[in-house]
Amino acid sequence: MIDSLVALGRRLDTPLVICLAAAWLAIAAAVWRETARDQQWRDRPLAAQVNGRPERCLACHADVTGLAPAHDPEALGCSSCHLGDPFAFDEDRAHAGMERFPGDLATATESCGQAACHSEAVHHVTGSLMNTGRGMISVDRFCFGEQAGPDSALTFADLAREKAPTPAADHLRRLCASCHLATRRDDHALDRFTRGGGCAACHLAEPAPYRDPNRHRRLTVAVDSERCFGCHSRSGRIALSYHGLAEVAPGQPFDVQLYDGRPARRVEPDVHAAAGMGCIDCHTRAEVMGDGLDHDHKEEAIEIACIDCHPTTPTVAAPLTEDDAITRRLVALRGWEEQSVSRTRKGTPLYFLTMETDGRVTVRSRGPEERRWIAGPTPDDPDHSLAGHERLACQACHSRRAPLCTGCHTSYAPDETQWDHLAGRERPGRWREKPGPIEYGPPLLGVADDGRIFPFIPGMPLRVQTGPDLPWLEDSYFAPLAPHTTTRAARPCSACHRDGATLGLGPGALDYVGAAWHFTPAPATGDFDLRWTKPDGHAVGRATRPAARPFTAVEIDATLTVGACVPCHKQADDPLYESFRGGLDRWREGAARRCDLPATETSDPGVDKSTIIIEITNQASITQQNKRTSGEFRIP
C-alpha cells in the first residue's frame, strides 16, 4: 500500500501538486473573505441609488432623520453635501475626503455651492462682508495708521496670505477674524459661541438634544436670530440693543450674564423686537448673504429701509419676473404663494410684504415661527415733513440709545501666545481686551457718506504704539451705526436742537444764557472723550467712512438757532416752523411781541463769554463770537 502511494507520488508532478495545494488554500481564504463580506453587507441597501448613481453611504446611514424634504438623503444622498466616496463600501475609503461640515467656505463650491444646488448663493456669500470683512479690515488698518483712508479692497483671504502680518493685520487675525464666516468650524456644537462654518453658521437650525446619532440637524432658510447674536453682540452691539440688553462693565450691577460671561442689564428692546420680529424679518438675503458686488462697508450692503414697511407714499407692487429666480425658489421653499411684490432701493423683491389697500403693509415672518405683523405707513404729518429735516434718516430721531464706549483698552503682550483664526494655530503674541466703562445714551448725529444725517457712535477709540520707536497713535473715531433701538416716539426736538452731545460737541453743559448759546465741556471720564467736533466746526475726531463728517459750524449754528425757540415752540405744527426764517425776521423787526427770547447780550458779569458758541441778536445778521473764523451766519 505504502509502496503504491510512493510510486504514485513519484509519478506526480511535484511543482503542479504544490501549485494545486496553494491554489486550494488561496481559494479557501477567498471563500472566507467572501463570507465575511457577505455577512457585513447582509440586509443593507447596497443597491441604493441617488440621481441614478450608487449612494452606498446609505448602506450604513439609511436611518438618518431630521432633514427637511429639500435635503432628504433619499433624494440627495449623503455625499452630495458631505463629499467622500459614495461608491465605497469600506468605511475608511467612504469617509476619505469627507466634509464633516458642509458649507465650510473652503469646500462650499463642492457641497452647498455645486452647480445643481446653491452655486450663486455660495458665490455671493464668498464675496459678502461677512466673509471678506473689508470694512472691518480697512477701518482697523486706518486706525492703526497703516492706510490713509478707511477704504481698501483687502479681505481676510489677503490677510491670511500675509507671511509677516502688520500690527493691524495681526490684531484682526487674532480678534476680529473669529467671526469671519470662513473660519473653520471644528465641532457640531451650535450655540452663541459658534463662529464661522460658512453656510451652516446660519442655516443649521437649533438642534433638538443631540443624543440620537441618526438625527441630522435640520437645514433651514428660517434663520433664527440666535444665529446672528454671537457675532453681532459686539462692537456696535446691535444684537444686544435690539433684544433689550445693555452690556455693562464688569463689577457693575447686572441682570443677565451673556453667553460669554459679559454682564448686561435689561432695558427696553427695539420696538420691532418687542413685537416679536427677528433679524431676518427685516434683513434680506441679498444684504446678509451678499449681492454679488464688492462692498466696502456694511451700510453699502444694506438695502432694507424703514420706508419699505412704513411707506410715505402708496407702494406699487408688481409680479415677480424671470430674473427673480432665487426669490421664487425661496417662496416655494417656504410653501408660500407668489404674489405681487414691492422692491428695495436695489431692486430686491420684498416677497414677505403684502401691500394692503389702506396703505398698510403686512409683514410675514421669515423666521422659525409663522407670524404676521401690520405696519402702518409713515404719517403724513408735520413731524415728518418739517422743513430743514429732509436729510434726517429715520434712525436719527427714532433711536432711543446707542453704546457710547470710550474706555475699552486693547494691549499687546509679546511674550504670550494667542490663537490666530486665519492661520488656525497658536502664534506668539497676544492682544488683550480689557473692558472699561460702557455708557449708553442717545447717539450723536453726523453726516453719513450718503449725505444723510445719521446716528454715530465712538468707533474704535485707540491708543496704540505699533513699534518700539514709533510714536503712540491716539485718536478718536466715529462710526455710523443703525442702533437697533427703535422707538415709536421720536426724540424730542430739544434732544438735537438743545443738546451739545448730539451735535458732536461731546458731554458738557449747553445753555442759552443771555442772547447766546454757551457750551462748557464736561471733564473727560474715559481715556477718550466723545467730542467729535468743536463749536467752531473743527473736527477733533475722525470718521470711519471717507465722506462722513461731523456737523459744520454752519449746521451747528442753524440747529442751535432753532433750539433757542424750541422751549416755547415745541410742536412741529407750530406756525413758526412754517417759515422759520420769516418768524426770525419778525422777531428781529420787533413784530413778535409775545416772544421773550433775550434779544440783547446779557450784562450779567457771571456769564463766561469765552463759552459762547453763537449769539442770537436782533441784528440783521448773527455773527460768531467765539473761535469762528468766518463772518456772517445765515439761517439756511
Partner: protein, 272 residues
C-alpha cells in the same frame, strides 16, 4: 548569468511570461462583465464589494498583469545577459523589444480605467505629456481617446490583441506549458486571496505614479522640461531595437546610463 542557476522544473522566464497571459485574459474577460466605463470607480468598487468573488477576480487580473510585466522585464534581461540578440533574427528581436512598452501601456491603461483619484491624476499627467508631442494631439487621441469608453476599448481590445499577436509572433508557440501557466496563476491567486488590488479613496491627493513609472515621475519632478525624462527610455528602446547591430560596449553603456539612474529615481520616488 541566470541560466546556470535556473532550476530544471522552473520554466524559462519567457514561458512564465507567456503563462501569465491566460489568467490575465480570463480574469479580464470576467471583469469586463461588470466594469462600466461610464462610471468606472463605482463599478470597480462594486466589483470589489458586491460582485461575488469580484475582489478575487480583480486581484487575479491585477497581480497577474504585474507579474507579466516583471517577467517580461526579467525575460528581456535574461536574453540580454545571454546575448541572444545575436542569435535570433533581427525581426524577432524587434518584436520582442516592442512587447515591453506595449505591456507597460496595457497595465497603465488598466490603472487609468480604475477612475480613482490616482488614476484621474495620472490621466491628466499623461494627457499633458502626450499633448507636448508635435503631432497635433493625434497620439494623445489614439492612446487615451476622448473618454473612459475609448480607453477601455484600447485596453480590452486593441492593445490586448496587438500584444497577443506580438507575443505569438515572438514565441512561435500556441500554448504555454502547464508549469508555465500554473506557477504565475497560483502566485496571482494567492496574492489576490490575501490582498486587495488597490483603490485610492476619493479626496486623496494623488502623489504616486504606479510603481513602474515612479522613476519617470521623479525625473519629471527634477528636470526643467517635461520632455527630457522621456529621452533616455526612448534612446534605450531605440538602442535595444538596433542592438543586434551594435557592440556589447554600447549595450553596457546604455544600461548603466539609463537603467541605473532609473532605479535610483524609482527609489527616490518611493521615498517621496
Amino acid at each position: 548569468m541566470l541560466r546556470p542557476t535556473w532550476p530544471a522544473w522552473l520554466p524559462s522566464t519567457g514561458s512564465l511570461t507567456l503563462g501569465c497571459l491566460p489568467v490575465v485574459l480570463v480574469s479580464g474577460g470576467l471583469l469586463a462583465i461588470h466594469f462600466d466605463p461610464a462610471a468606472p470607480l463605482a463599478s470597480v468598487e462594486a466589483i470589489e464589494e458586491v460582485v461575488p468573488f469580484g475582489f478575487l477576480v480583480r486581484g487575479l487580473h491585477y497581480f497577474a498583469s504585474h507579474l507579466l510585466l516583471i517577467l517580461a522585464v526579467a525575460h528581456t534581461a535574461a536574453r540580454l545577459s545571454a546575448r541572444d540578440y545575436r542569435r535570433v533574427p533581427p525581426a524577432a528581436w524587434g518584436v520582442a523589444v516592442l512587447v515591453l512598452p506595449l505591456v507597460v501601456w496595457l497595465i497603465l491603461s488598466g490603472f487609468l480605467l480604475r477612475g480613482d483619484p490616482e488614476a484621474i491624476g495620472a490621466a491628466e499627467v499623461a494627457r499633458h505629456l502626450l499633448g507636448l508631442l508635435p503631432d497635433g494631439g493625434h497620439t494623445r487621441s489614439c492612446l487615451l481617446g476622448t473618454n473612459a469608453a475609448a480607453l477601455y476599448a484600447q485596453h480590452a481590445a486593441t492593445a490586448t490583441v496587438l500584444l497577443l499577436v506580438l507575443i505569438l509572433a515572438h514565441a512561435r508557440i500556441g500554448w504555454p506549458t502547464a508549469h508555465a501557466v500554473a506557477l504565475p496563476t497560483t502566485a496571482a491567486l494567492c496574492l489576490a486571496a490575501i490582498a486587495s488590488a488597490p483603490i485610492v479613496p476619493q479626496g486623496t491627493d494623488p502623489v504616486h505614479a504606479p510603481w513602474y513609472l515612479l522613476g519617470l515621475q521623479e525625473a519629471l519632478h527634477r528636470t526643467p522640461h517635461p520632455a527630457w525624462p522621456f529621452l533616455p527610455p526612448l534612446v534605450l528602446l531605440a538602442g535595444l531595437l538596433v542592438l543586434p547591430r551594435v557592440t556589447d560596449r554600447w549595450l553596457h553603456a546604455a544600461l548603466v546610463l539609463v537603467v541605473g539612474p532609473y532605479l535610483i529615481l524609482t527609489a527616490l520616488g518611493w521615498m517621496r
